[in-house]
Subunit: 298 residues, 2 copies
């Protein structure tokens, strides 16, 4: 299977699993509609793809990997909904579509985000089909703990808080990296760890290598985001080009310039390949993914 086929299959797989699990909700229709709207808005599914690629690096992805893939995507979707709110980044456009609070209303957007976070933990804490995969309860707990830690005050939300405080501030490159390591890196790292844990056979050294891999590509992802913010256009991006610059947010471009930023992305890619040296051909999709991240155009 080519890397492109892997990407396509992973996206189809997580969408199918998402559809199946969200159909079980018997919730207020408007709330459910807003949750679906934000989950199915043409996202690239980078985190679910990472879950599957990490599982594959060790073994076959199973139904527990599916739950992990949905959980990280639900967590990501909730964070985007809340980040886009008027009190936060005040974005009207996301992936070329009206943001959740524009398509619905602010209250519904807040609640849809809240419900998506709970949905992620709901999925990971069920025991039905996970038991069949042979994943024991202790590993399942570790998966939940990985996600809760990565998404809370010491992870994603903490990073978003630093980001908001950084508007109009000059950050050092270290401060900028800390912010991104928390804001986007933590969930990317959790995605690789969840994928590996979902196989039930991950060793500590494998988890450690994947953690380093995730650190490198997570930062590369952000550097590339900053590059695209100044070199791409609104149509290709599906969001307002130059939005970060307009908000006076510190970026790798404002700190390093475009050329040095591109060089940094390349270095991070090489670092990601290095730490995977102990894995065989089954980690090839992780290797391709790293290249994809720094070469993507939207």
């Amino acid at each position: 299977m080519s890397f492109n086929q892997f990407i396509t299959q992973s996206r189809q797989r997580v969408d199918r699993a998402l559809n199946e699990h969200i159909s079980r909700f018997d919730a207020h229709p408007r709330l459910l509609e807003a949750m679906r709207y934000s989950l199915f808005n043409g996202g690239k599914r980078v985190r679910p793809v990472l879950v599957y690629a990490s599982a594959e690096a060790l073994s076959e992805p199973n139904s527990c990997s599916d739950r992990a893939a949905i959980a990280v995507e639900a967590m990501h979707a909730y964070s985007l909904i809340h980040d886009d709110l008027p009190a936060m980044d005040d974005d009207h456009l996301r992936r070329g579509q009206p943001t959740c609070h524009i398509a619905f209303d602010e209250a519904t957007a807040i609640l849809a985000g809240d419900a998506l976070q709970a949905f992620a933990f709901d999925l990971l804490s069920e025991t039905t089909d996970i038991t069949d995969t042979g994943i024991n309860a202790r590993i399942q707990l570790e998966m939940i703990h990985t996600l809760s830690h990565a998404s809370g005050a010491n992870g994603m939300v903490g990073g978003q808080s630093i980001d908001l405080a950084a508007v109009d501030q000059t950050l050092t490159i270290n401060q900028l990296e800390t912010m991104h390591r928390l804001k986007t890196g933590a969930l990317i790292s959790a995605s690789t760890r969840l994928g590996a844990l979902s196989t039930g056979i991950a060793s500590d050294s494998q988890l450690q290598a994947l953690h380093q891999y995730a650190g490198a590509i997570g930062l590369a992802f952000q550097v590339q985001d900053d590059i695209l913010d100044v070199t791409s256009d609104t149509e290709t991006l599906g969001k307002q080009q130059g939005a970060d610059a307009a908000l006076s947010k510190p970026t790798y471009i404002s700190l390093l310039g475009v050329d040095a930023a591109k060089q940094k992305a390349q270095q991070l890619h090489e670092q990601a390949l290095d730490v995977l040296s102990g894995f065989d051909y089954r980690a090839d999709n992780l290797r391709h993914l790293s290249a994809y991240i720094i070469n993507r155009r939207s």
Copy 2:
């Protein structure tokens, strides 16, 4: 120990455990301050008290009960922060203090709520001291699943969504009960279940009885809230008296009138005592709690 002593001890116990666990965060100071502000604003700790009383009905509360108590309180605190936001109920006063978005700002309030939800799951998924209590991983998973289910689209958030849509609407008494069963009842029910599960020895029939107990007192709590909204004053309540009436929200008072509402609260209390008939004296604090809920003045 008298019931009042039990309440005081439970509050001190959960506050101590909360302090200890939140001190481990190394998060953005403003975010952490907003989380602390909302957790320690003089709340009555009804849900933690329920956790301890339910644990006590079966055995001794342990460190796993402490985690359960913090988790339900963190979840409750997050829901209040988000409910108070301008796009939701737009409340400026909570327990006599400025609400989180007034004391801080809207973005910080949204993020503090988000982080508190993650905190709840973080606490329940750790394995360190829980292992010492003899609680096995499968029970721990069941606790997490109980909380995630109670707080998401099929629980608390779903209820809040129905509540927002109900402004200026006429609900039937059944619709009103469905809304409250989700909005506040689900977390109250989860509190009793978590308390019982935390002992590691809860039987299915005991869990079922506690579920019915929680259903009765959860509804009684809401009926009493509606009664206080029209019969108390702002100072005693610590929030705006008449706020629900001003928002044209349907209440037990608007549907039943004050006298019938008081009668309903009394009936629910008797129902709560009935379903506890299979428990011995160790469930007395649950019995007292039911009486406390319908007799409270704030």
